[in-house]
């Protein structure tokens, strides 16, 4: 007889075993014992457990509804995934790994895919530690039978990103069939001074950790009739805020995204300064442009290596295992670049540049060093510069096919980026829907050109850095690098083919019409902003 086929169709589920949770506030965690004089208690051995809590710096896993903890590090690393805030009662999987995971792909198969969807390229880092000390007491009846459990819990949560916090809880756990005893004990515990009944939830250590916010920056609101200097100043202040918000993470080298966001903000600022010539006085413009170029050059090598490491780690496990000695050598080089980067970022030159930028674009400084275009409506200036840049991109794209020289394709990519930054400035003046078409064409083209350039840079870097992979690493590592290089070159060729198709699309009449329409809207933006006479 197959029992599983005999289930009742009605409600025949097991009734839950009752549980109550109290927080201990302003009293000793064991004070409750003095308030149950009639109860016979049997103490069990105290237990301790600790968990290292992991997430990306911007808490991507948590925001996606997952907690990740390392329960043991020896002899193998044991990681557990659980629904956010339910680590004690629920699990989404336990994994044994060779070492602490650093990226999503350090997990096996499906888990790696799931986590990669949440983390993308972000590193997994320790964000805190949770230590639990638990003392368990059986409450006995006259037959020495356990009729309930009382657990004293001491939770210590601390770490790099945590306020050191200590939470003491008392958990009254029922035993099936002894509900009356449970109710009676619950009433008695309610009367104990310092015990506060709280909702029965798992202790959520991750919630106590200070979330690191990723500051990619908000695009500032620009009034349609804003003047060029004021518009540029607002955008510049937003970029400087991003640089400041990412400064600690960039210097600490916690995650490649900090440096990436810093570089994007600085590049955007540099590009707009260059394209909006005449808004600042010529001398000021020349100085700031030169210094921003220097800062970009300081941060470039580290970023290039970050993207290469990202690609290397993305390789399938078999190749990655062979690449391990190369990865170690490359990571060593990345650490050396980080020291150099920190030294430059902490240095007087970088600090002076950032201070000068802040001063230049602060509200207090006004237009002291403004140029001849400063008072012009920002929208008009943008319309003019947008048209010029778009024509430049069209000209270059026409002249370059899939087999064009890498340097010229890179120049085209930079022109595309500049055009994109100008388009971003149009957000206050042109409806979002109108901008969307132009953005889409440009983004795809820029993406293909980015892949061409990545292949160039990665190929060059691998050839340069291969020297640093010691002979002791063996022929497997060098052969693996060769295989990786073949892939890089293949990716470069594929990207070039993709570029050819996307360039044709960008040069098509509808794309050009989208830009012309934007220019037209920009030209009339300030008039539309003025109140109409009655």
């Amino acid at each position: 007889m197959a029992i599983d086929e005999l289930r009742s169709t009605g409600d025949s589920a097991a009734p839950p075993v009752p549980r109550r949770v109290f927080e201990v506030r302003g009293a000793e965690v064991g004070a409750w014992r003095r308030f149950l004089p009639g109860a016979e208690l049997r103490a069990e051995a105290e237990s301790r457990a600790s968990a290292l809590l992991l997430d990306s710096f911007d808490r991507r896993l948590r925001r996606a509804g997952l907690d990740l903890a390392v329960l043991a590090e020896e002899p193998r690393v044991v990681c557990r995934l659980s629904p956010a805030g339910r680590a004690a009662s629920s699990s989404d999987g336990t994994f044994e790994l060779e070492r602490l995971p650093v990226f999503a792909w350090d997990f096996p198969g499906a888990a790696a895919q799931r986590l990669a969807g949440m983390l993308e390229a972000r590193a997994i880092r320790p964000i805190g530690k949770h230590e639990l000390t638990r003392a368990r007491f059986a409450v006995l009846d006259d037959q020495a039978k356990t009729v309930a459990w009382v657990e004293e819990e001491r939770h210590e949560v601390g770490g790099e990103r945590a306020h050191d916090t200590s939470v003491r809880r008392l958990v009254l756990q029922g035993v099936r069939g002894y509900d009356e005893e449970f109710e009676r004990l619950g009433r008695e515990l309610e009367r104990v001074p310092g015990l506060v009944a709280v909702p029965d939830t798992d202790f959520d250590a991750s919630e106590l950790l200070v979330p690191a916010r990723r500051a990619a920056g908000r695009w500032p609101e620009l009034p349609a009739d804003v003047h060029a200097y004021a518009g540029l100043a607002r955008i510049a202040r937003a970029q400087l805020a991003v640089v400041r918000a990412n400064a600690v993470g960039t210097r600490a080298g916690e995650d490649a995204e900090y440096l990436h966001d810093t570089r994007v903000a600085l590049r955007r600022l540099r590009s707009l300064l260059a394209q909006l010539k005449g808004v600042l006085a010529a001398e000021e413009h020349a100085h700031l442009a030169g210094e921003l170029r220097w800062l970009a050059a300081c941060t470039g090598p580290a970023r290039d290596l970050d993207t290469l490491l990202f690609e290397l780690r993305l390789t399938e496990p078999a190749l990655r295992a062979d690449l391990e000695p190369a990865l170690v050598a490359f990571e060593h080089e990345r650490a050396r670049l980080q020291v150099q980067l920190c030294s430059e970022l902490r240095g007087a030159r970088a600090r002076a540049l950032l201070a000068r930028l802040r001063e230049r674009f602060s509200g207090a400084d006004g237009t002291r060093r403004a140029g001849p275009q400063a008072e012009r409506p920002f929208a008009h200036l943008l319309a003019k510069r947008l048209g010029r840049r778009q024509r430049q991109v069209v000209r270059r794209a026409r002249a370059l096919d899939a087999h064009g020289p890498a340097a010229e394709l890179h120049e085209l990519r930079i022109a595309c980026k500049k055009l994109r930054y100008l388009l971003e400035c149009c957000r206050g003046f042109v409806p979002r829907a109108e901008l969307a078409g132009a953005f889409a064409h440009l983004k795809d083209l820029q993406g293909a050109l980015g892949s061409v350039q990545d292949a160039e840079v990665h190929g060059r870097l691998v050839r340069e850095l291969a020297q640093s992979v010691s002979a002791a690493a063996g022929p497997r590592a060098h052969l693996a690098l060769g295989r990786f290089l073949e892939r890089v070159e293949h990716a470069g060729r594929t990207a070039r083919e993709r570029y050819a198709g996307l360039a044709a699309s960008f040069l098509a009449p509808d794309s050009r019409a989208a830009f012309e329409s934007i220019q037209d809207t920009l030209a009339h933006a300030p008039e539309r902003a003025r109140p109409r006479p009655r």
Partner: protein
């Protein structure tokens, strides 16, 4: 869910001792476990200090799920619950007589318990009661503690014969030697014969020992305390039962003819 019954036609063979230890080990391994005491002596209930509530009417356990869940008591061990019994269990026997399909009624009750429990151990009374017949039809395996004597082997051979239809439908027979006293010649001979003829006995044997006997007085499984020979024997038994459950097709068969030959040779 798996339903495993501890049964032997004979009494005093170590069914309850094995049941409480195997149930404890099953819970200790992290499986939600129920031990259903189906012996009116209520020995396993007593072992776990669990009493039948005055309000419990065993007759209702088959049809009334609220009554069924209400009769279950948590033990002192995490993950292990007990459905206790006492002399009132005869009420359940009577209820089975009234059922048109008694094994179906018991099977349905077990199926509903299976929503919560991963493993249910049935501690059966000796003999061939109506309740035992129902157990044979619904259980996944029959764990049969057997004292290594010729009489015990004869009883086991009869049980195998009686259970032929159930065995054919897939009931797994898991006999093992219990209360083994290595000083006794008969114990030695019977075990040797069983090993040589591959009669399908589990290889683990539970020795006769004061330590095992004392567990009943202490009302605490050996497997809950420090490591001991007795605890290790039950742990090995539990592992072997799990392995057989996982590989039903690989289970050796009892060679009844050989067994009967052996009994004649001992006469």
């Amino acid at each position: 869910m798996k339903v495993l019954a501890l049964h032997n036609l004979k009494g005093g063979v170590g069914k309850t001792t094995a049941a409480v230890h195997l149930a404890h080990l099953s819970a200790r391994a992290g499986r939600s476990t129920l031990l259903w005491d189906l012996d009116a002596q209520g020995a396993s209930s007593w072992f776990f200090r669990v009493r039948v509530a005055e309000s419990t009417r065993p007759r209702r356990l088959l049809r009334d799920r609220v009554a069924l869940w209400g009769a279950i008591r948590g033990s002192d061990w995490p993950g292990l619950d007990v459905l206790p019994a006492d002399l009132s269990l005869q009420d359940l026997e009577l209820a089975l007589h009234d059922e048109p399909e008694p094994e179906r009624a018991l099977g349905q009750a077990l199926a509903d318990l299976g929503r919560h429990y991963e493993r249910v151990w049935l501690d059966c009374a000796p003999g061939l009661s109506r309740l035992a017949q129902c157990v044979f039809r619904v259980a996944d395996a029959l764990v049969v503690p057997t004292i290594p004597t010729t009489l015990s082997l004869r009883t086991l051979a009869d049980l195998y014969k009686h259970l032929k239809p159930e065995r054919e439908r897939g009931l797994l027979m898991l006999p093992f030697f219990s209360i083994v006293d290595g000083r006794k010649a008969m114990h030695r001979d019977v075990r040797e014969f069983a090993r040589a003829q591959e009669l399908g006995f589990l290889t683990t044997e539970i020795p006769y020992s004061a330590q095992v006997e004392r567990t009943a007085a202490r009302r605490e499984p050996l497997t809950a305390g420090a490591a001991s020979d007795g605890a290790q024997a039950f742990e090995a038994l539990a592992r072997e039962v799990d392995a057989r459950l996982a590989d039903v097709d690989g289970a050796p068969k009892l060679r009844r003819a050989r067994l009967l030959e052996f009994l004649q040779s001992q006469a």
